[in-house]
Protein backbone atom coordinates (compact mmCIF):
# COMPACT_ATOMS: atom_id res chain seq x y z
CA UNK A 1 0.00 0.00 0.00
CA UNK A 2 1.34 3.42 -0.83
CA UNK A 3 1.46 6.31 1.56
CA UNK A 4 1.97 10.02 1.15
CA UNK A 5 5.16 11.39 2.61
CA UNK A 6 5.17 15.07 3.51
CA UNK A 7 8.65 16.60 3.59
CA UNK A 8 7.88 20.19 4.45
CA UNK A 9 5.24 22.82 4.95
CA UNK A 10 4.84 26.52 4.32
CA UNK A 11 2.10 28.96 5.19
CA UNK A 12 1.22 32.56 4.42
CA UNK A 13 -1.19 35.02 5.95
CA UNK A 14 -2.97 37.45 3.66
CA UNK A 15 -4.28 40.34 5.78
CA UNK A 16 -8.07 40.55 5.65
CA UNK A 17 -7.92 44.33 5.31
CA UNK A 18 -6.17 43.99 1.96
CA UNK A 19 -8.85 41.62 0.74
CA UNK A 20 -11.74 43.66 2.05
CA UNK A 21 -12.54 40.95 4.58
CA UNK A 22 -12.88 41.02 8.33
CA UNK A 23 -10.62 38.00 8.88
CA UNK A 24 -7.12 37.23 7.67
CA UNK A 25 -6.88 34.49 5.08
CA UNK A 26 -4.28 31.73 5.01
CA UNK A 27 -2.72 29.51 2.40
CA UNK A 28 -0.93 26.40 3.64
CA UNK A 29 1.14 24.25 1.29
CA UNK A 30 2.90 20.93 1.72
CA UNK A 31 5.83 19.39 -0.14
CA UNK A 32 4.86 15.77 -0.57
CA UNK A 33 4.74 12.71 -2.76
CA UNK A 34 3.84 9.02 -2.81
CA UNK A 35 6.39 6.69 -1.24
CA UNK A 36 6.36 4.39 -4.24
CA UNK A 37 6.77 7.02 -6.93
CA UNK A 38 10.49 7.48 -7.36
CA UNK A 39 12.02 10.19 -9.52
CA UNK A 40 14.97 9.64 -11.85
CA UNK A 41 17.28 10.91 -9.11
CA UNK A 42 16.24 7.96 -6.94
CA UNK A 43 14.36 10.09 -4.40
CA UNK A 44 10.64 10.08 -3.77
CA UNK A 45 9.06 12.36 -6.38
CA UNK A 46 7.65 15.36 -4.60
CA UNK A 47 5.90 18.59 -5.37
CA UNK A 48 4.27 21.45 -3.55
CA UNK A 49 0.52 21.52 -3.31
CA UNK A 50 -1.94 23.70 -1.47
CA UNK A 51 -3.46 21.71 1.38
CA UNK A 52 -5.56 24.27 3.26
CA UNK A 53 -6.98 27.66 2.35
CA UNK A 54 -9.25 30.20 3.98
CA UNK A 55 -9.69 31.68 7.42
CA UNK A 56 -8.00 30.28 10.55
CA UNK A 57 -11.10 28.21 11.25
CA UNK A 58 -11.33 26.98 7.66
CA UNK A 59 -7.70 25.86 7.75
CA UNK A 60 -8.05 23.95 11.02
CA UNK A 61 -11.23 22.28 9.77
CA UNK A 62 -9.52 21.24 6.55
CA UNK A 63 -6.50 20.04 8.57
CA UNK A 64 -8.85 17.79 10.56
CA UNK A 65 -10.06 16.22 7.32
CA UNK A 66 -6.49 15.61 6.20
CA UNK A 67 -5.39 14.41 9.64
CA UNK A 68 -7.58 11.33 9.48
CA UNK A 69 -5.11 9.76 7.04
CA UNK A 70 -2.37 9.98 9.69
CA UNK A 71 -4.08 7.49 12.00
CA UNK A 72 -3.78 4.60 9.55
CA UNK A 73 -0.32 5.68 8.34
CA UNK A 74 -1.48 6.90 4.93
CA UNK A 75 0.26 10.22 5.57
CA UNK A 76 3.74 9.99 7.03
CA UNK A 77 6.78 12.15 7.65
CA UNK A 78 10.21 11.37 6.15
CA UNK A 79 11.77 8.21 7.58
CA UNK A 80 8.32 6.60 7.76
CA UNK A 81 7.63 8.52 10.95
CA UNK A 82 3.95 8.49 11.78
CA UNK A 83 2.11 11.39 13.33
CA UNK A 84 -1.11 11.23 15.27
CA UNK A 85 -3.97 13.32 13.86
CA UNK A 86 -3.70 15.51 16.98
CA UNK A 87 -0.06 16.30 16.26
CA UNK A 88 -0.84 16.92 12.59
CA UNK A 89 -3.55 19.47 13.41
CA UNK A 90 -1.30 21.16 15.98
CA UNK A 91 1.37 21.45 13.29
CA UNK A 92 -1.03 23.45 11.11
CA UNK A 93 -1.94 25.67 14.05
CA UNK A 94 1.76 26.47 14.60
CA UNK A 95 2.29 27.08 10.89
CA UNK A 96 -0.38 29.76 10.93
CA UNK A 97 1.13 31.48 13.97
CA UNK A 98 4.46 31.79 12.18
CA UNK A 99 3.03 32.54 8.74
CA UNK A 100 4.55 35.63 7.12
CA UNK A 101 2.13 38.36 6.06
CA UNK A 102 1.70 38.69 2.34
CA UNK A 103 1.00 42.32 1.68
CA UNK A 104 2.15 45.08 -0.62
CA UNK A 105 5.92 45.18 -0.69
CA UNK A 106 6.37 41.63 0.65
CA UNK A 107 9.84 40.45 -0.37
CA UNK A 108 9.92 36.94 1.11
CA UNK A 109 9.12 33.59 -0.47
CA UNK A 110 5.61 33.23 -1.84
CA UNK A 111 4.66 29.98 -3.53
CA UNK A 112 1.19 31.06 -4.61
CA UNK A 113 1.02 31.09 -8.39
CA UNK A 114 -2.61 30.89 -9.32
CA UNK A 115 -6.05 30.47 -7.81
CA UNK A 116 -8.70 28.42 -9.54
CA UNK A 117 -12.39 27.75 -9.34
CA UNK A 118 -13.61 24.91 -11.46
CA UNK A 119 -17.04 23.43 -10.97
CA UNK A 120 -19.63 21.54 -12.98
CA UNK A 121 -22.28 23.61 -14.75
CA UNK A 122 -24.87 21.90 -12.57
CA UNK A 123 -23.09 22.88 -9.33
CA UNK A 124 -22.66 26.48 -10.47
CA UNK A 125 -26.38 26.65 -11.26
CA UNK A 126 -27.20 25.34 -7.78
CA UNK A 127 -24.79 27.80 -6.19
CA UNK A 128 -26.32 30.63 -8.20
CA UNK A 129 -29.63 30.03 -6.43
CA UNK A 130 -28.10 30.24 -2.95
CA UNK A 131 -25.33 32.76 -3.62
CA UNK A 132 -26.40 34.89 -6.60
CA UNK A 133 -24.09 37.79 -5.72
CA UNK A 134 -20.92 35.69 -5.66
CA UNK A 135 -21.70 33.94 -8.93
CA UNK A 136 -22.61 37.24 -10.59
CA UNK A 137 -19.26 38.63 -9.43
CA UNK A 138 -17.47 35.71 -11.11
CA UNK A 139 -19.27 36.27 -14.41
CA UNK A 140 -18.62 40.00 -14.21
CA UNK A 141 -14.92 39.23 -13.78
CA UNK A 142 -14.74 37.21 -16.97
CA UNK A 143 -16.54 34.57 -18.96
CA UNK A 144 -15.65 31.10 -17.64
CA UNK A 145 -13.61 28.66 -19.66
CA UNK A 146 -15.52 25.52 -20.52
CA UNK A 147 -13.96 22.10 -20.10
CA UNK A 148 -15.14 18.54 -19.67
CA UNK A 149 -14.42 16.45 -16.60
CA UNK A 150 -12.31 13.52 -17.77
CA UNK A 151 -14.06 11.09 -15.45
CA UNK A 152 -17.70 12.11 -15.21
CA UNK A 153 -17.71 13.78 -18.65
CA UNK A 154 -19.71 16.60 -17.05
CA UNK A 155 -19.26 20.08 -18.51
CA UNK A 156 -17.26 22.30 -16.19
CA UNK A 157 -16.87 26.04 -15.84
CA UNK A 158 -13.58 27.47 -14.70
CA UNK A 159 -12.12 30.78 -13.62
CA UNK A 160 -8.47 31.42 -12.90
CA UNK A 161 -7.08 34.27 -10.84
CA UNK A 162 -3.56 35.56 -10.75
CA UNK A 163 -1.85 36.62 -7.51
CA UNK A 164 -2.47 40.24 -8.46
CA UNK A 165 -4.06 41.94 -5.38
CA UNK A 166 -7.33 42.77 -7.15
CA UNK A 167 -7.76 39.26 -8.52
CA UNK A 168 -6.88 37.71 -5.14
CA UNK A 169 -9.47 39.98 -3.55
CA UNK A 170 -12.12 38.68 -5.91
CA UNK A 171 -11.06 35.05 -5.41
CA UNK A 172 -11.18 35.27 -1.62
CA UNK A 173 -14.54 37.04 -1.75
CA UNK A 174 -16.15 34.04 -3.46
CA UNK A 175 -14.05 31.33 -1.79
CA UNK A 176 -16.39 30.62 1.18
CA UNK A 177 -19.13 29.22 -1.07
CA UNK A 178 -16.74 26.63 -2.49
CA UNK A 179 -15.02 25.57 0.73
CA UNK A 180 -16.06 22.21 2.10
CA UNK A 181 -16.92 21.03 -1.40
CA UNK A 182 -13.53 21.41 -3.05
CA UNK A 183 -10.09 20.44 -1.77
CA UNK A 184 -7.53 23.21 -1.39
CA UNK A 185 -5.25 21.71 -4.05
CA UNK A 186 -7.99 22.33 -6.60
CA UNK A 187 -8.32 25.95 -5.51
CA UNK A 188 -4.72 27.12 -5.47
CA UNK A 189 -1.65 26.22 -7.47
CA UNK A 190 1.66 26.59 -5.68
CA UNK A 191 5.23 26.10 -6.75
CA UNK A 192 8.30 26.21 -4.56
CA UNK A 193 11.83 24.88 -4.06
CA UNK A 194 12.71 21.28 -3.28
CA UNK A 195 10.51 19.64 -5.92
CA UNK A 196 11.96 16.46 -7.45
Amino acid sequence: MSSRIEFGYAAWRIPGAELGKSEDQFLVAALGGDNNLISQSGAVARSWSAVCIGTHQDVIRQACRLAKSCEGGSVQMPGRRCLTPEAYIAKFRRLMVDAPHISAGYKGEWFGKQFTISESVERIDTLREDHPEEIARLYAYREPTKTQDWYSKADKLGWTFSTDPEEMKLFFSVLPIFLGKVFAWNLAKVRGPGEK
Partner: protein
Protein backbone atom coordinates in the same frame (compact mmCIF):
# COMPACT_ATOMS: atom_id res chain seq x y z
CA UNK B 1 -21.71 28.14 11.91
CA UNK B 2 -24.10 25.25 12.33
CA UNK B 3 -27.57 26.09 13.51
CA UNK B 4 -27.43 23.42 16.18
CA UNK B 5 -24.48 22.86 18.45
CA UNK B 6 -23.51 19.29 19.31
CA UNK B 7 -23.18 19.01 23.06
CA UNK B 8 -21.20 15.93 23.96
CA UNK B 9 -21.35 15.06 27.64
CA UNK B 10 -19.28 11.92 27.84
CA UNK B 11 -17.28 9.54 25.68
CA UNK B 12 -16.77 5.83 26.05
CA UNK B 13 -14.96 3.22 24.02
CA UNK B 14 -15.73 -0.45 24.49
CA UNK B 15 -14.47 -3.52 22.70
CA UNK B 16 -16.49 -6.42 21.42
CA UNK B 17 -16.28 -9.52 23.65
CA UNK B 18 -12.96 -11.36 23.51
CA UNK B 19 -12.68 -13.90 20.70
CA UNK B 20 -15.35 -12.21 18.60
CA UNK B 21 -13.03 -11.01 15.89
CA UNK B 22 -9.48 -11.61 14.75
CA UNK B 23 -8.51 -8.02 15.52
CA UNK B 24 -9.51 -5.45 18.13
CA UNK B 25 -12.86 -3.97 17.24
CA UNK B 26 -14.12 -0.97 19.16
CA UNK B 27 -17.38 0.85 19.61
CA UNK B 28 -17.01 4.59 20.05
CA UNK B 29 -19.96 5.92 22.03
CA UNK B 30 -20.83 9.56 22.33
CA UNK B 31 -23.18 10.56 25.15
CA UNK B 32 -25.04 13.71 24.19
CA UNK B 33 -27.75 15.87 25.60
CA UNK B 34 -30.23 14.45 23.12
CA UNK B 35 -29.17 10.82 23.19
CA UNK B 36 -26.45 8.27 22.98
CA UNK B 37 -24.80 7.87 19.61
CA UNK B 38 -22.66 4.95 18.50
CA UNK B 39 -20.18 6.61 16.16
CA UNK B 40 -19.10 3.31 14.71
CA UNK B 41 -17.99 -0.26 15.23
CA UNK B 42 -14.59 -0.77 13.71
CA UNK B 43 -10.85 -0.86 14.18
CA UNK B 44 -9.28 2.14 15.86
CA UNK B 45 -7.82 3.76 12.74
CA UNK B 46 -11.14 3.57 10.96
CA UNK B 47 -13.06 5.11 13.86
CA UNK B 48 -10.60 7.99 13.90
CA UNK B 49 -11.83 8.88 10.41
CA UNK B 50 -15.20 9.73 11.91
CA UNK B 51 -13.67 11.30 15.01
CA UNK B 52 -11.52 13.65 12.90
CA UNK B 53 -14.66 14.81 11.07
CA UNK B 54 -16.29 15.53 14.40
CA UNK B 55 -13.13 17.16 15.74
CA UNK B 56 -13.35 19.68 12.89
CA UNK B 57 -16.60 20.90 14.40
CA UNK B 58 -14.79 21.78 17.65
CA UNK B 59 -13.05 24.61 15.82
CA UNK B 60 -15.75 27.24 15.95
CA UNK B 61 -17.54 25.55 18.87
CA UNK B 62 -20.06 23.67 16.76
CA UNK B 63 -19.22 20.76 19.04
CA UNK B 64 -18.50 21.26 22.73
CA UNK B 65 -17.41 18.67 25.26
CA UNK B 66 -18.90 18.85 28.72
CA UNK B 67 -20.06 22.40 28.09
CA UNK B 68 -16.55 23.59 27.31
CA UNK B 69 -15.14 24.78 24.03
CA UNK B 70 -12.09 22.69 23.14
CA UNK B 71 -9.64 22.44 20.30
CA UNK B 72 -9.91 19.57 17.81
CA UNK B 73 -6.58 18.24 19.09
CA UNK B 74 -7.93 18.11 22.64
CA UNK B 75 -11.08 16.40 21.45
CA UNK B 76 -9.08 13.69 19.68
CA UNK B 77 -6.78 13.33 22.69
CA UNK B 78 -9.79 12.75 24.91
CA UNK B 79 -10.95 9.98 22.58
CA UNK B 80 -7.47 8.45 22.49
CA UNK B 81 -7.53 8.21 26.28
CA UNK B 82 -10.82 6.37 25.97
CA UNK B 83 -9.32 3.97 23.45
CA UNK B 84 -6.48 3.26 25.87
CA UNK B 85 -8.95 2.61 28.66
CA UNK B 86 -11.33 0.54 26.50
CA UNK B 87 -12.77 -2.54 28.19
CA UNK B 88 -14.96 -5.28 26.72
CA UNK B 89 -18.72 -4.77 26.58
CA UNK B 90 -19.06 -7.54 29.15
CA UNK B 91 -16.80 -5.74 31.65
CA UNK B 92 -18.48 -4.69 34.87
CA UNK B 93 -17.44 -1.07 34.16
CA UNK B 94 -19.75 -1.10 31.15
CA UNK B 95 -22.69 -2.70 32.89
CA UNK B 96 -24.57 0.62 32.87
CA UNK B 97 -24.95 0.37 29.12
CA UNK B 98 -27.03 -2.12 27.15
CA UNK B 99 -26.03 -2.72 23.54
CA UNK B 100 -28.38 -4.15 20.99
CA UNK B 101 -28.95 -4.16 17.26
CA UNK B 102 -31.52 -5.63 14.94
CA UNK B 103 -31.16 -7.18 11.53
CA UNK B 104 -34.20 -7.34 9.32
CA UNK B 105 -33.50 -9.69 6.48
CA UNK B 106 -35.54 -10.79 3.53
CA UNK B 107 -35.15 -14.59 3.40
CA UNK B 108 -35.96 -14.54 -0.30
CA UNK B 109 -32.87 -12.47 -0.88
CA UNK B 110 -30.80 -14.55 1.48
CA UNK B 111 -31.74 -17.86 -0.04
CA UNK B 112 -30.71 -18.42 -3.59
CA UNK B 113 -29.37 -21.36 -5.52
CA UNK B 114 -26.37 -19.33 -6.51
CA UNK B 115 -25.78 -17.98 -3.06
CA UNK B 116 -24.76 -20.84 -0.82
CA UNK B 117 -22.63 -18.58 1.30
CA UNK B 118 -25.59 -16.40 2.25
CA UNK B 119 -27.67 -19.48 2.98
CA UNK B 120 -25.02 -20.59 5.45
CA UNK B 121 -25.18 -17.14 7.02
CA UNK B 122 -28.92 -17.45 7.40
CA UNK B 123 -28.61 -20.85 9.04
CA UNK B 124 -26.05 -19.48 11.45
CA UNK B 125 -28.34 -16.57 12.26
CA UNK B 126 -31.24 -18.95 12.87
CA UNK B 127 -29.06 -21.00 15.18
CA UNK B 128 -28.80 -17.99 17.48
CA UNK B 129 -32.53 -18.43 18.27
CA UNK B 130 -32.92 -14.68 18.47
CA UNK B 131 -35.35 -13.94 15.72
CA UNK B 132 -39.00 -13.53 14.93
CA UNK B 133 -40.74 -13.86 11.58
CA UNK B 134 -42.84 -10.85 10.73
CA UNK B 135 -44.64 -10.30 7.43
CA UNK B 136 -42.29 -12.64 5.64
CA UNK B 137 -39.20 -10.94 7.03
CA UNK B 138 -36.81 -12.32 9.61
CA UNK B 139 -36.05 -9.93 12.42
CA UNK B 140 -32.99 -10.81 14.46
CA UNK B 141 -32.15 -9.11 17.72
CA UNK B 142 -28.54 -9.07 18.75
CA UNK B 143 -27.37 -8.66 22.29
CA UNK B 144 -23.80 -7.50 21.91
CA UNK B 145 -22.78 -8.80 25.31
CA UNK B 146 -23.26 -12.26 23.84
CA UNK B 147 -20.06 -13.21 21.95
CA UNK B 148 -21.96 -15.28 19.38
CA UNK B 149 -24.27 -12.36 18.63
CA UNK B 150 -21.39 -9.89 18.46
CA UNK B 151 -19.47 -12.11 16.08
CA UNK B 152 -22.45 -12.52 13.78
CA UNK B 153 -23.26 -8.82 13.83
CA UNK B 154 -19.71 -7.81 13.08
CA UNK B 155 -19.49 -10.26 10.20
CA UNK B 156 -22.67 -8.86 8.74
CA UNK B 157 -21.51 -5.29 9.06
CA UNK B 158 -18.17 -5.97 7.49
CA UNK B 159 -19.32 -8.36 4.80
CA UNK B 160 -21.33 -5.84 2.82
CA UNK B 161 -24.71 -6.38 4.41
CA UNK B 162 -24.60 -3.25 6.46
CA UNK B 163 -27.74 -1.89 4.85
CA UNK B 164 -29.78 -4.62 6.49
CA UNK B 165 -28.48 -4.01 10.01
CA UNK B 166 -29.92 -1.31 12.20
CA UNK B 167 -27.54 1.01 14.00
CA UNK B 168 -26.39 -0.33 17.33
CA UNK B 169 -28.74 0.96 19.98
CA UNK B 170 -27.37 1.86 23.35
CA UNK B 171 -29.55 2.33 26.36
CA UNK B 172 -28.34 3.54 29.70
CA UNK B 173 -29.68 1.62 32.64
CA UNK B 174 -29.96 4.66 34.91
CA UNK B 175 -31.94 6.78 32.49
CA UNK B 176 -35.69 6.60 32.43
CA UNK B 177 -35.93 7.42 28.73
CA UNK B 178 -34.46 4.94 26.29
CA UNK B 179 -31.85 6.91 24.42
CA UNK B 180 -31.11 5.34 21.12
CA UNK B 181 -30.59 8.10 18.63
CA UNK B 182 -28.56 7.44 15.54
CA UNK B 183 -29.07 10.40 13.24
CA UNK B 184 -27.27 10.39 9.96
CA UNK B 185 -23.73 11.39 10.87
CA UNK B 186 -23.13 12.97 7.48
CA UNK B 187 -26.21 15.10 7.92
CA UNK B 188 -24.79 16.25 11.23
CA UNK B 189 -21.54 17.20 9.61
CA UNK B 190 -23.08 19.06 6.68
Amino acid sequence: MRTTQIRELWQRVVTLPAGTTYCDVYLAISGREDGILVLGIDQQYSLFYTLCDLAALCEGADLVLNGKQIKPEQYLRAWRQEFKAARPITDSGNSDLVFSATLIADPQKLIGADNRWRLEQLERLRSLHAYVEREGMLEFTFDLANPAHSKMLYEYRTLHHIEEVSPVRVTKADQSIALAAQPDLWELLA
